[in-house]
């Protein structure tokens, strides 16, 4: 670039790096689309997709008032009041804009590519945020890192159309505006923070983390004696505007002023006012008088507050701590008390290896970054330190929150990398100068230059390995749509198992429109979205009793299950069975959760987990297994006619390839069900519930 001034060159390079990072973050998420097709992944995205379709077809008001009679039969679900509508509104808006511009894109494709698009935006916001914290160099490194960090990709590949996909963007945007607001102290930035916060609230329940982190930041500043008018203006504006805005989301409602999760924000707001008021008084009173007044006020206030909290909790105005929040603080809480929460795989505690798997080199750079943050403590740095430390803790508690950790890891690591590089590159670069002064400071300079070069090399290697690792993880672990499975055959070619869609299409084409399908709740969203049939329970696990009833049906004998199924007007039952192809997350492997959840309510008190184990305490499906297990509905539905099938060479018929055992109950007939459909690889089996016998029992 000989024609550009060095300043312009710098701008150009920055722009180039940033836009490449943004494009890369979009491109790296497309593995699944290239490998399979443009489909929605997993379970929850199907619900989001269905609601988005409804929103675009019927308009916002119908969407807002939508009472869904296809889910949770016969209870139904008020969709408008029980979701975070941000995601659907975003994609519907994008869709409408494109339609307006005569770009005729299908709503499904909007949904599929929304998450990659928003991760591009996240990349840019990360750059801005890090720039605000440190400098542009750190911003660029952080942007490049977040573009490919697996911890974030895991939830934002193309087709993974979920709240988190846009929520991370909203969260970082809020942080960016917040840092801006704290740094400048203007109402404008604080209001922008509130707006970004509103967007965040409208799109993800994880906003609770945000509304606790910011007050914590304010408190920390207060304690460190850094509380200033800037922070006061920023926080007061954010809290007032943000809270009022957040209450407009009907799912959130009055929670911001009632539930204990939001009390920290409210308390900090009050404290801010008191603190500012105290400062004001101090300026106008003599120290002795102030002391007296201060002490009296503090005692009265504390007493009043304490009483108020106790009274409100007792009268139930402040809702008790919800289960999900308890499980954040005490990882064993959910497992001991609420099986429905513990059963979700993404609510499990994180193993240390998954930290490395999802973050790789960032794990090592993070402490270094923290060091650099501490070494130059500013208001913004305190925020990022708090964010980092807190999210590490929460990510350790729940796998799902790795997502919140990944951005801060990138930011802090970006700071670290940039600081280290600028420190050492400086040493290598002025080689000519060094040559001249070589004789004067021999030892020192030679040593520094070599170390600098070595260091840059090592860091370069680490970063390169990071890139390779991230791409490999994305390609291998996070790009399978889970609705279509693939496996390698013996000759290395890819085999595709499309059984799920096969089964859902069968349901759609061959069952009456008002047929009710019972399955374990995992598949509820997919059945309603793809087969367009009524389900008893789905992934929105809002009613424990109802799920428990289904669990009881699955865990009972046929006769008892028949009563439950008739009570719920069930026409078809759908089970997932992986024993033939070796698909391990099938219903038999989830069965113990059904037993636990089924037994967790009064009506399921007769279902005891211990009955399903062998006397030695093992969960076995072979001949040694417990008789209760071998005769329950789930077992019979999974293994109906499986006893005659040869699955693996050198094994007896009825050999289950997931459990690696020959099934224990082979010869049985179904009394109250009849097999309606079994897919190609037996992954999905559908049974029809027989009517009452014509000539009586």
């Amino acid at each position: 670039m000989p024609y550009l001034s060095s300043e312009k060159q710098l701008t150009f390079i920055k722009l180039a790096v940033l836009s490449m990072a943004a494009i890369l973050s979009f491109a790296t998420r497309l593995f699944s689309v290239l490998r399979f097709e443009s489909v929605i992944h997993e379970f929850d995205p199907y619900f989001n997709y269905r609601t988005t379709r409804y929103l675009t077809e019927e308009g916002f008001y119908k969407f807002h008032n939508w009472f869904d009679d296809q889910a949770w039969y016969p209870l139904g679900r008020i969709i408008g009041g029980t979701i975070y509508p941000g995601l659907m509104v975003t994609s519907a808006t994008l869709y409408n804009i494109m339609q307006f511009l005569n770009i005729t894109i299908d709503i499904r494709n909007v949904c599929v590519f929304l998450a990659p698009f928003f991760s591009s935006l996240t990349t840019i916001v990360t750059y801005l945020l890090t720039k605000e914290l440190k400098d542009e160099g750190a911003g660029l490194v952080a942007a490049a890192m977040i573009a490919i960090v697996p911890g974030y990709i895991s939830r934002s590949v193309a087709g993974s159309y979920d709240n988190e996909g846009i929520a991370i963007f909203c969260m970082l945007l809020t942080y960016y505006f917040w840092i801006k607001a704290v740094n400048t102290g203007t109402i404008l930035w604080a209001t922008m923070t509130a707006l970004a916060y509103f967007y965040m609230v409208s799109s993800w329940g994880g906003y609770v983390f945000l509304i606790n982190l910011i007050p914590l930041h304010v408190l920390a500043l207060m304690m460190l004696g850094r509380f200033s008018a800037r922070v006061y203006v920023a926080y007061s504006t954010l809290y007032c505007v943000g809270t009022i805005l957040s209450m407009q989301i009907s799912f959130v409602g009055f929670q911001p002023v009632q539930s204990s999760e939001h009390m920290l924000a409210l308390g900090t707001f009050g404290l801010c006012q008191l603190y500012a008021f105290a400062q004001y008084l101090r300026a106008h009173l003599s120290p002795a008088n102030f002391e007296l007044l201060f002490n009296t006020l503090v005692t009265t206030l504390l007493a009043t507050l304490g009483t108020a909290v106790v009274v409100l909790t007792v009268t139930g105005k402040i809702s008790p701590w919800t289960g999900r929040f308890y499980s954040l603080l005490d990882p064993s809480y959910a497992k001991n008390h609420i099986p429905i929460i513990a059963s979700v795989s993404e609510h499990q505690p994180t193993s240390w290896s998954s930290f490395y798997f999802d973050l790789q080199v960032l794990v090592f750079l993070f402490p270094a970054g923290l060091y650099f943050c501490f070494s130059k403590l500013t208001d913004a740095n305190i925020f990022i330190i708090l964010y980092g430390v807190l999210s590490i803790y929460f990510a350790g508690v729940m796998v799902r929150l790795m997502l919140v950790l990944a951005p801060v890891m990138c930011i802090v690591s970006g700071v670290a990398t940039s600081s280290l590089l600028s420190l050492h590159v400086k040493d290598i670069e002025p080689k000519v100068e060094k040559h001249d002064k070589k004789k004067k400071h021999e030892n020192n300079l030679v040593f520094r230059s070599e170390v600098g070069a070595l260091f840059v090399c090592v860091l370069g290697c680490l970063l390169t390995s990071y890139v390779f690792h991230c791409t490999w993880v994305t390609s291998e672990a996070y790009s399978s749509p889970s609705i279509v499975l693939s496996a390698r055959s013996n000759d290395g070619s890819r085999i595709i198992f499309d059984d799920f869609r096969e089964a859902y299409t069968w349901l759609k084409m061959n069952t009456p429109e008002d047929a009710k399908v019972m399955s374990w709740w995992d598949y509820g969203y997919q059945i309603t979205a793809m087969a367009n049939r009524t389900v008893i329970v789905d992934n929105n696990t809002w009613n424990n009793t109802h799920i428990s009833r289904v669990g009881q049906a699955m865990a009972s004998t046929e006769e008892r299950a028949y009563e439950i199924m008739r009570e719920l007007d069930v026409d078809y039952v759908l089970v997932i069975f992986g024993g033939l192809v070796g698909y391990s997350s099938d219903d038999i492997n989830k069965f113990l959760w059904m037993v636990r959840i089924g037994g967790s309510t009064d009506r399921g008190a007769h279902i005891r987990e211990s009955d399903y184990y062998t006397p030695a305490g093992e969960f076995r499906i072979d001949g040694d297994g417990s008789q209760t297990l071998l005769n329950c509905l789930m077992y019979k539905m999974s293994y109906y006619k499986f006893g005659q099938v040869y699955t693996e060479g050198g094994r007896p018929p009825g050999y289950d390839r997931v459990r690696a055992a020959e099934i224990g109950n082979k010869e049985f007939n179904l009394e109250v069900l009849e097999e309606a459909y079994t897919t190609d690889h037996w992954l999905v089996r559908i049974y029809k519930v027989k009517p009452l016998p014509n000539r009586g029992a």
């Binding site: 807002h64 009679d69 016969p74 209870l75 139904g76 008020i78 014509n694 000539r695 009586g696």
Partner: protein, 454 residues
């Protein structure tokens, strides 16, 4: 026009005919004579009877998937195995597809009978066992006390099945039946007296008899869930001319005497019921709508007032006519019934109920389950959604919230006024300087930008 009329008439006729096609399976063609009165009563009512030997090798119930007969009468106790394509499985399938069956056996009836009985929820006593009653036998009894006299009081209380005026004692000679306790659909049409038992009259009673006292059912019936009807009589003699014409005189006890047995009346009634001439109900129309509206709706809002109408018809003399009753109930069900109410008879077979939908949202069913002995089971459900209020349906202003409205609006006005005060307040010190300083203090960045651009 004329052609279509003729066509219509022929179709009606043929439909009517198809309903009357009846296959009669007999042991020997002699039964045609011994039971002529019964068969004649059927023929008089328009049934076309095809009488065949039970072991005829060409027996057929259906051809090319179409049933040739609507009704089946089996008067063949001594048959060991049916001929042609008929066996127990075919007969049960015939019932499951809606065919009506009338079976009469006697003490000698074989295993085929037992199999059919088991399929229908009855249990027939062992071979050669007969119902014996030493206190209620007829004077013409041959000494075994098996020709018993049964009081019409032992009939089931269901006029639709047995008719209104059964006053004559009934003659019975044959085997006893017991009912499957698990089966809720079977009906004991005629039970024996408490002194009766079922055993082989030729042998000494060594074990506890199969059926004793009132548990001994002489004639049983089953109305299947698809409304196919089955009458199962332990006695073929019951339908015979001999029983129809015979006088009755009890030897023991109250010594009831009658010139004529009640058999004929009862047998005719039973056949009328079994072949669907009586007790047939159907739902003609169901309509439900919000009160004050005409159109039906699939969705109601909580606490709506709903009008539910159902029109029920009964088959009388071959014609569908309005059904009159006062005990038809409606349930509004979401797993459990939230509302259960008796429908008002509005005349002309229309039943109506007006009620308020509960204040609980969900998917409900209007459920009419009219199950009366002898009548078709009337089961009709309509699924509707009950949704919560829409965002426009809530009250705008709630009286109890007035303090909040006042505080909100006063705050708004206050801020508005305050902004004027703030903007135009003049302090004593020289104003230009002061204002400058103020702005600079408030937003340092802003001033920087201004400096830069100027």
């Amino acid at each position: 026009m004329k052609f279509s009329l003729i066509l219509g008439i022929t179709t009606c006729f043929s439909v009517a005919l198809a309903d009357q096609e009846t296959l009669v399976l007999v042991d020997n063609l002699n039964i045609r004579e011994t039971h002529s009165q019964f068969f004649k009563s059927l023929q008089d009512r328009g049934y076309s009877l095809t009488i065949k030997l039970a072991d005829d090798a060409n027996l057929l119930l259906s051809k090319y998937g179409e049933y040739l007969y609507k009704n089946l009468i089996i008067f063949a106790p001594s048959v060991v195995e049916f001929g042609g394509q008929i066996d127990t499985e075919i007969i049960t399938k015939f019932i499951d597809d809606g065919g009506n069956v009338l079976v009469a056996g006697n003490a000698a009836s074989g295993d085929v009978y037992r199999e059919i009985a088991t399929e229908c929820g009855f249990e027939m006593d062992e071979e050669s066992a007969a119902v014996i009653d030493h206190f209620n036998y007829d004077i013409l009894d041959d000494g075994d006390h098996t020709r018993i006299v049964v009081s019409p009081k032992n009939l089931i209380n269901a006029p639709t099945i047995v008719g209104m005026h059964n006053t004559q004692p009934i003659l019975f000679e044959g085997t006893g039946i017991i009912l499957d306790k698990e089966n809720s659909l079977v009906l004991p049409i005629l039970t024996a007296d408490s002194t009766a038992y079922s055993y082989n009259p030729k042998s000494q009673v060594k074990e506890y008899p199969h059926a004793v006292g009132k548990k001994t059912v002489l004639i049983a019936a089953l109305q299947a869930r698809n409304n196919a009807r089955i009458i199962y009589s332990g006695s073929l003699f019951f339908f015979s001319d001999e029983a129809f014409n015979s006088p009755v005189a009890k030897v023991q006890g109250d010594k009831v005497k009658s010139d004529l047995s009640g058999n004929k009346a009862l047998a005719v009634h039973l056949s009328e019921w079994a072949f669907g001439e009586r007790g047939q109900l159907r739902v003609r129309r169901v309509h439900h709508h919000r009160q004050g509206e005409k159109e039906s709706s699939n969705t109601y809002t909580i606490t709506d007032t709903v009008v539910y109408k159902i029109e029920i018809e009964e088959l009388k003399n071959g014609k569908w006519q309005p059904f009159e009753a006062n005990d038809v109930q409606l349930e509004f069900v979401r797993i459990d019934p939230f509302i259960r109410t008796t429908l008002r008879n509005k005349g002309n077979g229309v039943y109506e109920s007006i009620f308020k939908v509960p204040d609980v949202w969900g998917v409900y069913q209007f459920k009419v389950d009219y199950d009366r002995t002898g009548y078709t089971r009337l089961y009709h459900t309509t699924q509707v959604s009950v949704r919560p209020l829409q965002h426009t349906q809530y009250e705008r202003f709630i009286p109890s919230a007035y303090p909040y409205y006042v505080s909100a609006f006063s705050m708004m006005i206050g801020v508005f006024l305050f902004s004027f005060v703030f903007l135009y307040y003049k302090e004593d010190t020289p104003k230009s300087k002061m204002r400058c300083v103020y702005i600079f203090k408030l937003s340092p960045q802003h001033s920087d930008i201004q400096d830069g651009s100027v």
